[in-house]
C-alpha cells in the first residue's frame, strides 16, 4: 500500500512540474465581478456558446465588483461585471498596469423599498423620510414609525437591508443618505435578499429595501412603496412606483442606476471577445428582461455599440458614482482613464 502511495505521490509531483501552463486550444473568454450583473452575463455566456457551437468558451465568476476590478486591473480577466462605476483607487491600479478599458452600460438595476402587504399606512415615502430612517444619526433614536412621521403608528420600526459588502448597500446609502456606506447599523442585514423578503413578509411593522427583481418575484408577499424623489427628481413631488417604464425613463428617482461591463482594450483585440461584446449588446434588449432586469432603451444600445466601434476608452464617472444619471447624458460624455 505504501509503495503505491509513494509512486502516486511522485507521479503527482512530476506531473505538476512538467505541466507548465497547459493551454487549451479552444479560446476562453474570462469574466468575473459583480453578482448583481451575473445573471445577465450568465445568460449571455450561455447564448453565445450555443450560437458559436462550442468554438468559444466563456467562464463567469462572482468575486464581487471590488474583487473583480482587482483581477481586471491585473489583466487576469477579459471582461469585468460591475454594479457601480470604477473607483479612483481602481482607476489608479489599472493605470499602473497599463490596462485601458471600455466602459459599457448594459442594463438598469433598481432598488425597491418594500413593506408588509398588511401595512395600511404607507403608500409612498419621500427621500427625506427614508433618510430619517436610515441615516447613521437615526441609530438608537428613530425606533418607532411615529418618530419618522407623527401620522404613522407608535409601533417599533423593524428595518431590513442589504449587508455592507453588497453593491445594493453602497448605492442605497449613497442615494438616500447622501454618502456611500453611511448607514445606521441596528437593522437586520443580510447579503441574501431572499432572507430580507422573508423577514419583511412576516413582520407587519417591517420596512426593507431589495433589488427590484426580488419584489417582482414576491409580489404576493410584499407591498412596494412609491418614492417621492424631491427637488432633484424629474417629477419633483409626485410619488413614483418602480417598474420597467419608470426606471427606463428615469422618473423612478433616486433608486435606480445603470450597471456595466468593463472590457479591457487588449482583450478587445481578440476576435472572440469582440464578437462576444457585440453579441452582448445586440441581445441585451431581448434577454435582460428575461432575467428580471430593466433594459436600457433600444437606442442606447446602439449608442453603446457605436462606442465599441470607435473604441472609446475610459470612464465617464471620474472615479465615483452619480445619482439619477440619465443614460443619454451618460453616453454623450467623454471618457477619461
Amino acid at each position: 500500500m505504501l509503495t503505491n502511495l509513494v509512486a502516486a505521490l511522485s507521479l503527482i509531483v512530476g506531473v505538476s512540474v512538467s505541466l507548465s501552463v497547459a493551454q487549451a486550444q479552444v479560446p476562453v473568454i474570462k469574466i468575473d465581478g459583480s453578482s448583481t450583473v451575473f445573471p445577465i452575463t450568465e445568460a449571455m455566456a450561455e447564448e453565445f456558446q450555443t450560437a458559436q457551437r462550442g468554438k468559444v468558451r466563456v467562464t463567469v465568476g462572482i468575486s464581487g465588483t471590488g474583487g473583480g476590478f482587482k483581477k481586471f486591473c491585473r489583466g487576469e480577466i477579459d471582461v469585468q461585471d460591475a454594479s457601480r462605476p470604477i473607483q479612483t483607487s481602481e482607476l489608479e491600479a489599472c493605470r499602473k498596469a497599463g490596462i485601458k478599458f471600455l466602459e459599457l452600460p448594459i442594463a438598469y438595476d433598481a432598488t425597491a423599498v418594500v413593506v408588509n402587504p398588511k401595512n395600511t399606512w404607507i403608500k409612498s415615502m419621500t427621500v427625506a423620510e427614508l433618510k430619517k430612517m436610515w441615516e447613521p444619526a437615526a441609530q438608537g433614536k428613530v425606533g418607532k414609525w411615529s418618530d419618522v412621521n407623527p401620522a404613522w403608528p407608535k409601533e417599533n420600526l423593524k428595518l431590513y437591508g442589504a449587508g455592507s459588502d453588497s453593491g445594493t448597500f453602497d448605492y442605497f446609502t449613497e442615494a438616500i443618505v447622501g454618502k456611500s456606506k453611511s448607514s445606521r447599523g441596528d437593522y437586520t442585514a443580510s447579503e441574501d435578499d431572499n432572507t430580507l423578503v422573508t423577514g419583511v413578509s412576516n413582520d407587519l411593522y417591517a420596512l426593507g429595501y431589495v433589488p427590484l427583481a426580488y419584489y417582482e418575484e414576491n409580489r404576493a408577499k410584499l407591498k412596494v412603496v412609491a418614492i417621492v424623489g424631491g427637488d432633484k427628481a424629474p417629477k419633483k413631488n409626485e410619488a413614483v412606483l418602480p417598474g420597467r417604464e419608470t426606471v427606463e425613463n428615469g422618473t423612478y428617482f433616486p433608486l435606480s442606476r445603470p450597471i456595466f461591463i468593463y472590457v479591457s482594450e487588449k482583450s478587445m483585440a481578440k476576435a472572440e471577445v469582440k464578437d462576444f461584446v457585440n453579441f452582448y449588446l445586440s441581445k441585451s434588449f431581448e434577454i435582460v428582461p428575461q432575467v428580471k432586469y430593466v433594459p436600457l432603451p433600444a437606442k442606447a444600445y446602439d449608442a453603446v455599440k457605436e462606442h465599441v466601434k470607435k473604441n472609446k476608452v475610459g470612464t465617464v464617472f471620474g472615479g465615483h458614482s452619480e445619482i439619477g444619471l440619465k443614460i443619454e447624458e451618460l453616453m454623450k460624455r467623454e471618457g477619461s482613464l
Binding site: M1, L5, V15, S16, V21, V60, G61, D192, N194, K292
Partner: protein
C-alpha cells in the same frame, strides 16, 4: 430501622437523579436529531422531485428547468481526487512519523499542539494563503490543481490526527513481538502498524474528504467560477501515452458554489434547483461516510489480538 429508612430514601434520591440525567441526555439528543431530520426532510421534499437524469448531464442555464449540475459535480469529483492524492500520503506519513519515529520532547509537543490548532482554523484563511502561494507565487492559476492542494492542506491536520489515533490504538505488544522476530522499524511499520491501523486511517480520510466536498469559502477566494459550461480535458486520449493531466490546470466550479448561487436568485424555481443540489451533495456525503463505516467494520473483523 431508622438507618434502613434513610438508606432507602437515599437510594430513591439517587435513582431519581439517574432518571433526570438520562432524560436530559435524551432530550439533548432528540433536539439535535429532530432539527437535523426536519432540515433533511424539508430539503428532500423540495429537491427530490427535481432530480432526474437531465439534472446531472445539463450545464447551468438561465432557465431554471433546463439548468443542471454537470460542471459542478464533475468539478467536485476532480477536486476530491486531487485532494485525496495530496493529503493522504502527506497526512499518513506525517502521522506515522510523529507516532513511531519522532522523539517525545518539547519540539514534538509543540508540533502536536500546532497541528491540533491548524484543524480549527477557519477555512477562508486557507483560501487566502492559497491565493498568495499557489495562484500568484507558484503560478498554478485558478485551476483544479490549486483547489485540490488548498483543500488538501485544509484536511491535512484531520488526517494526521486520526492517523496518530489509529496507530496509538495498536497495543505495544505487537511492536515488541515484531522486533522480537528480528524485524526492523520499517518492517514493523510496513507489515504491522500500517495494516492494523488502516481501518482507522481510512475512516479519518473519508471523513476529512466529506468535509472538503462541502467547502465553498476557500474555493471562492482562489477564484472558483460560477458559470462554466464545459468540462475539464478528459484524462484519456487517442495519442501516446494515452493519459494526460491537462485537466489539473482547467477552471472549475463545485456543487456548493452552484447551490449558493441558485439560492440567492429571486426566482423560486432556482431555489428548487438549489434544494436538489443539496440533496445530491447530502447523498454523496452519506455514501462516503457509509463507506467509512463499512471499511472500519471490515478491518476490525480481520484483526484479532
Amino acid at each position: 430501622m431508622e438507618a434502613h429508612q434513610d438508606l432507602l430514601a437515599n437510594i430513591k434520591r439517587r435513582q431519581m437523579w439517574d432518571f433526570v440525567f438520562a432524560l436530559m441526555g435524551l432530550l439533548a439528543l432528540l433536539f439535535a436529531l429532530v432539527t437535523l431530520l426536519a432540515l433533511i426532510v424539508d430539503l428532500a421534499i423540495t429537491g427530490v422531485p427535481r432530480i432526474n437524469a437531465e439534472f446531472f448531464v445539463n450545464f447551468p442555464s438561465r432557465f431554471a428547468e433546463k439548468a443542471g449540475i454537470l460542471s459542478a459535480w464533475v468539478g467536485s469529483f476532480c477536486i476530491m481526487i486531487t485532494t485525496a492524492f495530496c493529503a493522504i500520503p502527506l497526512g499518513v506519513a506525517a502521522g506515522v512519523y510523529l507516532e513511531e519515529y519522532s522523539k517525545k520532547n518539547w519540539i514534538s509537543q509543540l508540533i502536536e499542539l500546532n497541528i491540533i490548532n491548524l484543524a480549527g482554523i477557519p477555512s477562508i484563511t486557507y483560501g487566502l494563503m492559497a491565493l498568495g502561494l499557489f495562484v500568484y507565487k507558484l503560478k498554478l492559476g485558478q485551476s483544479i490543481l490549486t483547489a485540490g492542494l488548498t483543500l488538501g492542506l485544509l484536511v491535512l491536520p484531520i488526517i494526521i490526527v486520526t492517523t496518530r489515533e489509529a496507530i496509538r490504538a495498536i497495543p505495544n505488544t505487537i511492536r515488541e513481538a515484531s522486533y522480537a522476530m528480528g524485524a526492523s522499524k520499517w518492517q514493523t511499520v510496513r507489515y504491522h502498524i500500517l495494516p492494523y491501523s488502516s481501518g482507522g486511517i481510512l475512516t479519518g480520510v473519508i471523513i476529512s474528504l466529506s468535509r472538503a466536498i462541502g467547502e465553498t469559502a476557500p474555493l471562492i477566494t482562489i477564484g472558483a467560477l460560477t458559470f462554466i459550461a464545459f468540462l475539464p480535458t478528459p484524462p484519456v486520449d487517442g495519442q501516446f501515452p494515452y493519459l494526460n493531466f491537462k485537466w489539473l490546470m482547467d477552471p472549475f466550479t463545485v456543487m456548493p458554489i452552484q447551490m449558493f448561487n441558485w439560492l440567492s436568485r429571486p426566482q423560486p424555481e432556482f431555489h428548487v434547483n438549489a434544494a436538489a443540489t443539496g440533496v445530491v451533495l447530502l447523498l454523496m456525503t452519506l455514501i462516503m461516510n457509509g463507506g467509512a463505516i463499512y471499511l472500519r467494520s471490515r478491518f476490525r473483523k480481520k484483526m484479532k489480538w
